[in-house]
Symmetry: C2
Subunit: 439 residues, 2 copies
Amino acid sequence: MMSVNHTHNPALKSWVESANQPDSDFPIQNLPFGIFRRRGTSEPFRAGIAIGDQILDMQAAHAVSAFDVALDASLSALSLPKLNTFMSLGQGAWSAVREAVSAALAVGSSLQDTLAECLVAQSEAEYDVPAHIGDYTDFYTSINHATNVGKLFRPDNPLLPNYQWIPIGYHGRSSSIAISGHSFHRPNGQLKAPDAEVPVLAPCKRLDYELEVGIYIGTESPLGHPVKLADAEQHVFGLCMFNDWSARDIQAWEYQPLGPFLSKSFASTVSPWIVTMEALAPFRQSWTRPAEDPQPLPYLDSHDHRNTGAVNMHLEVLIQTAKMRADGVSPERLALSNFNQSYWTIAQMVTHHTVNGCNLKPGDFFGSGTQSGISRDSVGALIEATVGGREPITLSNGEQRTFLEDGDTVTLKGWCQNDSAVRIGFGEAAATVLPAIDY
Amino acid sequence: MMSVNHTHNPALKSWVESANQPDSDFPIQNLPFGIFRRRGTSEPFRAGIAIGDQILDMQAAHAVSAFDVALDASLSALSLPKLNTFMSLGQGAWSAVREAVSAALAVGSSLQDTLAECLVAQSEAEYDVPAHIGDYTDFYTSINHATNVGKLFRPDNPLLPNYQWIPIGYHGRSSSIAISGHSFHRPNGQLKAPDAEVPVLAPCKRLDYELEVGIYIGTESPLGHPVKLADAEQHVFGLCMFNDWSARDIQAWEYQPLGPFLSKSFASTVSPWIVTMEALAPFRQSWTRPAEDPQPLPYLDSHDHRNTGAVNMHLEVLIQTAKMRADGVSPERLALSNFNQSYWTIAQMVTHHTVNGCNLKPGDFFGSGTQSGISRDSVGALIEATVGGREPITLSNGEQRTFLEDGDTVTLKGWCQNDSAVRIGFGEAAATVLPAIDY
């Protein structure tokens, strides 16, 4: 795990003034990576680092030789349209770029005049999925979510016997992962009401979001080489916000015995910025589970891991309905949760994923699974908030929701905040539901 | 669906003599695509077409301008180290190359002297996975397999209610798909005996093969654009043999509620050659299901589809144990099956996969699921052949197997044969089990 170093110093300020606002997601202590270009242009996508309301264009910075030649390999990689090559360079390269950019963007830097020419306003940018995601694995690490959903699918058996032993996960569909700001059609699929004799093909009626943390693998783990828990985080590049849209009625009919398939593969949404594990160092926390629960098998447990395995990361879901948009009403919070309640940690996910010899590649992606607290206003999916659609929620403007309606925009946000460090944010993962297409 | 044309003419012979042997997998009527280089060299991988015991090196053929300039885009694509770009060019391009290569390799071709210089012996070649597989989906289309396995996991409820309505599938792991000829370590994983209180981390004791047909998507289907049944096969490039190695004990403990995960992701094996849908045209058959079974929903059904939806493709599993290898004993057949017994067709898989708007990309891959007949000598996995490991099978040399042992090599073969066409083959998908690594 990364240790807290001078790049986290709360006294650091940037000459990019907007980065010094206390509510900025992107102070100089953050420095997340993304892939962008000026909106509406045919410029090549390339890497940028968010700073305040600006983006430091890393290709432009390379072109003007802003940084030491020792960073040339990294800067060349950051000129490519995906982050995979940079990810593959490893923690040393990631840290060196962070260190150089932190110094260059700090008040008093001699590079201010040079790099001021390399800034692009975020308001003028469009983004792409920042990595080519080879394989995407969705985990299920929130025991509250597993219990809440389990009650609906299996009232007599909500939490399955393997849950407390295995970081349960399944393979997801990578082709339909899109960048924040997109919209997608409500999926058609086979639905079968419990009392119906046969299924029908129809638009999903129980469309839901899932509030997840996205995890990008940085460095490869070759086939046949399990990653030990102590080494696991070295392979992780960073985190983002992730919405694993879910069609609950399609899921209920299709998921036995091989798991969710078309109920998930129509769309998933990632936020543009990847916050590095190094940036998250001040927000690490101890990881524990109740003493009465089974403790992890040795390959998933260690003293160090228990000390620092968790991430104190606030997670928020907001909704803006079509009516709210028409009326000029801002998005409204549906839930507030925290990744530090996860029953399994990032390191445990990596180690378990590779214990069978499975390889991981740069740009591979994990979803954390829906992160739910216990109270109704802290659950990460409507199926939990509405108790399976039985208890609608009422929005401030009087509209009700059991599941999502056409025109709804759902936005996920995340941020880290504590008493000893500068708050850092993740930006947002937002997308809008379009009507189903005629089939 | 492709129609039978002159490239299938049984009277066609090649000037590559080995292609005219009746037992050759690769007569001039086949012409499958693969990715190869000379073994032990650092040559770039590029596309080849199998002919008899030779490979027509398409990069070399392009370099000597053997073909019409109208094929230049295809030949440039075939000079790349993966087939994805060629796949993306579509059925017209695939057919044009097939037609040109068929004419060029036929007895009497004026190109014989030129192309004779472009042949590489298969005995001197090594292969790579022929496409970059973005997403891999494993289906479950054999009702015999679903019933046999269902009996073991759920004796009271072997065939789930959705099976006859949905081409059940799940997302698989693409990173661990390897080319025939590899070996892999027996996976470690969490195992929990039914009478054990807690799981342990240990080498898999119930390692199995799965006899599957692999299906490569050729042309893209964009997000939000379902593929109608009548158009489905236009997106399919071709078929291969596929072994979806499975750790049954890991699977039994992990698979609820989200499906198989580490029980499958340690290794999968593809054969080197992709037999195109056009080459398979003479072997298409009517697809029916028993009148007493539910008939498919309209989006998965049509008159044309019933006429020609199936593929008459023989499938075989062979084993060679370490002892057999040491004693010079050839691989022994474990099962013989046929893809024409599949409860769901290729077109139904494509159409169902996209009905929710999910996109397909060139090089995406489907597994058909284990193809099992009814009799014990026609089932595509050991878990079926040994009734869950309770009834060992005895090999000719007296060795017994319930599940696979270290040193076992499993080989899958496939071929199409009928009275009106020349037999075509798929080559083989073979791999060897190594001992588990110490953890």
